[in-house]
């Protein structure tokens, strides 16, 4: 049996024989869907990445914001 076949078997057999692991994977998948499919998508944009096209513009925006002592 090749090394790759053995590695694949390790995962396939491992996932098949899970007991508590099934509930855990369900929770992990739900969590990741909520995080990336809902939170990241709708609530957590990358402010500088989205609003500016280049690093120079991003640096300029931060420079303007941070040179304001009254901030």
């Amino acid at each position: 049996m090749t090394l790759w076949r053995r590695i694949i078997d390790l995962y396939v057999d491992g996932f098949r024989s899970m007991t508590v692991g099934r509930s855990l994977w369900a929770i992990i998948i739900i969590k990741l869907i909520i995080m990336f499919g809902v939170l990241k998508l709708f609530f957590f944009p990358d402010i500088l990445g989205t609003n500016y096209d280049s690093d120079e513009e991003r640096a300029g925006a931060v420079r303007t914001a941070l040179s304001d002592s009254d901030r």
């Binding site: 390790l10 855990l24 929770i27 992990i28 939170l39 609530f43 957590f44 500088l48 420079r63 002592s69």
Partner: protein, 530 residues
């Protein structure tokens, strides 16, 4: 301005909620992985099926904790990009590099070897399986290193140079960032506190088995391993805590003053062992700092400097700029906070001049402005403050968190000494005394309180700074509306509460079911036979 304060406050609450939730899982992962690895090593040497049973049982609880904690830290990274975009840009690669390395280690090392740990019992040799278990523990510890390096840099920014063109702090020395004394001591303190926490968890759950007269041999063996790991953990936590107090006294003296509710320092400064903070006391009035204070003479000087007669500055001293008193009684002054505010504003003025010169392409003016920024850069963050007392952290929260941590930490030292003594010398007391068993179980929530309190000291105590002296939280924040942050805060609170309930439910069910019978296990040695 009121809306900005609201955004800052809600963003801080949101970050605190996610970080504290994340830290419920992390220390248990750090410590339990080591306990499981030690148990498997003993099984590997002795081939006693009880050790195999113990290894598999605690490994299952480790897996539940790991699975439910995994990715909770990712939300912190979302928040950096959304709520704290000025901060994220300003810190540049200094923060990004350790987090990227952590991600690579977390993904490749932990997840690879965790798969072998759980799926490999019948598939790989006993030696390879054992190595995978140790490498999982090592991977988790290395991951923690990089996160704590990033955190330490925020408390003690070193190894960088500010570049006004990129508007970032650019790393000049990776070694200075990764191996600063603050990073080293913070790492040791946090990881060893994880060993301590996991030790209490295992001893406490074992006490429950003893109380129920179930799996007594496995429980006693578990108490012995967890007792030693926990004792090593708490001793090294105390040692690294002592080293950290030297760091704090040197690089964050205001935090130390807040930890002790100390307004006016002195030579041979006493430590407040226990006290009740006067809620009416502020840095701007003359009220007494304490309603009740029980102190130990000279102890703060000893802990902060290892010299019982040394001067320890208080909040007022630091604001005024008094940093030390010589042996002859003369005061040695540094810049007052009012002067540092002026210096910070000069550096902001220079940054505005740089911005104008950069837009005009005037190289000479840019060089001149850059020099002016560098001259006052150490006080850059003070430029955002309105008055010196704005640089004082919330004293009561910092004081009480610190004292809760220390008092519970003292109890944990006694706890592990007693657990080991009973497990080795008074086995029957351990098996039969309900008081001992209940104490073991009650200590489980206490150790989490202690662990969280430690982070509250570290993070609330350094306020108003997000980067010490360079950036206060209010400058770090993005241009957001308060309502969007409030919505996500409550969304998180609901999701995290549901996930925590799920974890507790799965964990408690697994504990209640207990370890599988020894004979039902297939040891990794059968794979060797194949």
């Amino acid at each position: 301005m009121p809306d900005l304060i609201s955004v800052v406050d809600w963003s801080r609450w949101q970050f605190a909620l996610t970080a504290m939730y994340h830290w419920l899982f992390v220390p248990l992962t750090l410590g339990l992985s080591v306990i499981v690895a030690i148990m498997e090593t003993i099984y590997y040497k002795r081939r006693n099926p009880v050790w195999l049973s113990a290894t598999k049982f605690w490994m299952l609880l480790f897996g539940i904790n790991f699975a439910l904690g995994v990715a909770t830290g990712l939300i912190l990274e979302f928040e950096f990009g959304t709520n704290w975009s000025n901060y994220s840009w300003f810190v540049g690669d200094i923060f990004g590099a350790p987090l990227a390395i952590e991600g690579i280690f977390a993904f490749f090392m932990e997840s690879t070897f965790i798969a072998v740990m759980f799926f490999g019992w019948k598939k790989v040799s006993a030696g390879f399986h054992l190595a995978s278990t140790w490498l999982t523990a090592l991977g988790a510890t290395i991951s923690a290193w990089w996160i704590l390096v990033a955190n330490a840099w925020m408390q003690y920014p070193v190894g960088m140079e500010f570049d006004p063109v990129q508007m970032r702090n650019v790393m000049q020395s990776f070694a200075d960032v990764a191996l600063s004394p603050v990073a080293v001591h913070k790492f040791t303190h946090a990881v060893m506190s994880g060993w301590t926490l996991a030790g209490v968890f295992v001893v406490g759950v074992s006490c429950w088995f003893l109380l129920r007269r179930r799996h007594q041999e496995l429980a006693l063996k578990s108490v012995k391993v967890a007792g030693w790991v926990g004792l090593a953990g708490i001793l090294l936590t105390l040692y690294s805590g002592d080293q950290s107090s030297l760091d704090v006294a040197r690089v964050q003296p205001m935090k130390l003053a807040a930890m002790e509710g100390l307004y006016d320092g002195s030579r041979g400064q006493a430590i407040s062992a226990f006290g009740i903070i006067n809620p009416d006391k502020t840095p701007d009035n003359d009220e007494e700092p304490f309603l009740l204070d029980i102190s130990v003479p000279k102890m703060l000087s000893l802990l902060a400097t290892h010299n019982p007669d040394a001067f320890v500055p208080g909040i007022n001293d630091l604001m005024k700029g008094v940093a030390d008193v010589t042996a002859s009684g003369d005061t040695v002054t540094t810049l007052s906070y009012a002067e540092r505010i002026e210096a910070g504003r000069r550096s902001h003025e220079a940054l505005r001049a740089f911005d104008a010169a950069y837009a005009a392409g005037d190289e000479g003016a840019m060089a001149e402005a850059r020099k002016a920024i560098e001259a006052d850069y150490g006080s850059f963050g003070f430029g955002y403050l309105d008055k010196p007392s704005d640089a004082v952290p919330p004293v009561a929260v910092t004081y009480y968190s610190f004292h809760i941590m220390v008092i519970i930490g003292g109890w944990l030292l006694l706890f592990f000494v007693a657990a080991l003594f009973l497990a080795y010398r008074k086995r029957r007391v351990m098996e039969r005394s309900r008081i001992v068993q209940w104490l073991g179980m009650i200590t489980i929530p206490l150790v989490w309180v202690c662990s969280q309190a430690g982070w509250v000291v570290a993070e609330v105590g350094r306020q108003p700074w997000v980067i010490q002296n360079l950036m206060p939280t209010r400058a770090a924040i993005s241009d957001l509306s308060a309502s969007s942050v409030i919505i996500t805060f409550w969304l998180f609170a609901a999701i995290f509460t549901a996930l925590l309930a799920a974890e507790l439910s799965i964990m408690l069910r697994a504990i209640s079911r207990g370890p599988e019978h020894e004979s039902s296990h297939v040891s990794p040695s059968t794979a060797e036979a194949k």
